[in-house]
């Protein structure tokens, strides 16, 4: 990660004058470094994000079901996940590094990333479950459905839009924070950003890595909107 600073700026690039003189955005550098630098960073970024969102969802979903059954749990869970959510990312990463059983590795990063998804996913799942009209629940009960059947066949499908909305926010949040995580664990799209800054502010790499992070976040957001429409066809029909 630490690259020797030279007094005379040297951006490499050999005969490539665009890179040598650090002019704006050099497409040739991106082409030359796509396979070795940029694409691996994108892949790592997607991995980091997917792991955090999946684990975060499993935990938050469990917590939401718990709070749905017993109202008393709602406030303590909201407050504790809220505090985790409010702690700035860089601070949380460094506080976690302070625990001796954690280090500068992916585990530390994932713990922090998961902790940021909890509040959003918990609150949205719970709101989705609570939003099911009482009449619908009573009708299901009247049809002889058990509590478990009501949950899986009535409440969860109706809560899906809220749950996916939560997944959207959680995913873009994690994509953003995973960039910062490169400070702790040198992977993902933050890694080329930091390297570019340390090598005398190499603009092409800044634009390429920063741009890829933005594109990744927007694509993930759009993909989840699409997923939301696919899993809830009735919502679309209602609106039309």
């Amino acid at each position: 990660m630490i690259i020797a600073q030279t007094v005379i700026p040297n951006f490499g690039g050999g005969p490539n004058s665009c890179v040598r003189e650090n002019r704006g955005f050099c497409l040739s550098w991106v082409q030359d470094n796509w396979n070795s630098v940029l694409w691996p960073a994108v892949r790592q970024h997607i991995e980091l994000t997917a792991i955090a969102v999946v684990i975060g969802f499993v935990i938050a979903f469990g917590l939401a079901l718990l709070a749905h059954r017993r109202r008393g749990f709602e406030t303590p869970i909201t407050v504790s996940t809220g505090v985790l959510y409010t702690i700035p990312s860089l601070a949380l990463f460094q506080i976690l590094v302070g625990f001796s059983f954690l280090g500068l590795n992916r585990l530390t990063v994932e713990i922090a990333l998961v902790s940021y998804t909890l509040l959003i996913l918990f609150r949205n799942t719970l709101e989705g479950l609570r939003g099911v009209p009482a009449e619908v629940r009573e009708a299901a009960l009247g049809m002889g459905l058990t509590r478990r059947q009501i949950l899986t066949r009535v409440e969860l499908p109706l809560a899906l839009p809220a749950i996916v909305a939560g997944l959207r926010i959680a995913t873009v949040t994690v994509i953003s924070l995973a960039t910062v995580a490169a400070f702790i664990d040198d992977e993902g799209l933050g890694s080329p950003i930091f390297r570019a800054i340390q090598s005398n502010v190499f603009k092409t790499e800044l634009f390429a890595a920063g741009g890829l992070a933005v594109i990744l976040a927007l694509l993930a957001d759009a993909a989840l909107v699409l997923a939301q429409r696919l899993v809830t066809p009735w919502a679309r029909r209602q609106r039309a």
Binding site: A91, V97, F99, A162, S176, L206, A217, A235
Partner: protein, 236 residues
């Protein structure tokens, strides 16, 4: 566990350093939030008042929320170079969307009957906005300001990662000078700062709500109303 605990006495031993960095931190955050408010509030409130541009206003926040903070800072550095103003510019870009959208939704969703009644009573357009729409919009509008404030305070430390002033972040990223105790101590300070700012703005939000509305508003929920309601979003 030990370095985490050592962070607390470190704060006690370095009060003046912490306050020094805290001052820079608040200055950067304050300027960025001020500029973001000056740009986003009038636009959001005006669009909400004339009930136009819902597609743009909602999508600005969806895109704004998706923007990774470090990526925005990196791109800003690529365009204008390193420096405190670059960080402030990036913070404005990150904070403005949430303020704009919340202001828009807040004013746009004020009960139309109330607004009609105000017009019927002979209030002029400006009076409708100042005396009817804005007071009723304040809780939701402040939710956006609050989110933006916490976001800005939490993002200032990233400046230190990118080679410019980062307030308390300067200590967080500099383990060579401040050792792990200092890093953890400063991290604890930033975490506490974010929580305090959140609580502070929650208080302002409560106080600024017209008395007649206070009992009816679930302050935890107003934020989600703007952030997560799938019905309010336009096509992808």
């Amino acid at each position: 566990m030990k370095p985490v605990l050592d962070g607390f006495p470190w704060i006690g031993h370095h009060v003046s350093l912490v306050f020094d960095k805290l001052g820079v931190h608040m200055l950067i955050a304050g300027i960025a939030l001020g500029v973001a408010l000056a740009i986003a509030l009038p636009i959001g409130v005006w669009l909400g008042h004339i009930h136009r541009g819902s597609f743009a206003a909602i999508n600005v926040s969806n895109v704004g929320r998706a923007l990774p903070s470090l990526a925005v800072i990196a791109i800003a550095i690529g365009i204008v170079g390193l420096g405190r103003n670059t960080l402030i510019l990036a913070l404005v870009v990150l904070a403005a969307p949430v303020i704009l959208t919340n202001a828009y939704v807040a004013v746009d969703t004020v009960d139309r009957d109330v607004v009609d009644a105000a017009r019927g009573m002979g209030l002029r357009e400006r009076e409708v906005l100042w005396h009817v729409e804005l007071p009723l919009a304040l809780p939701l509008l402040f939710a956006g300001v609050r989110t933006a404030a916490v976001y800005v305070v939490a993002t200032v430390p990233l400046g230190a990662l990118t080679g410019t002033d980062g307030g308390l972040g300067d200590i967080i990223v500099n383990q060579a000078s401040y050792r792990l105790e200092g890093v953890v101590g400063a991290a604890i300070c930033v975490a506490a700062l974010a929580i305090v700012i959140d609580a502070l703005f929650a208080g302002v939000q409560r106080v600024s709500t017209p008395r007649g509305l206070r009992g009816h508003i679930d302050f935890a929920a107003v934020q989600t109303a703007a952030a997560g309601n799938p019905q309010e979003e336009g096509p992808p």
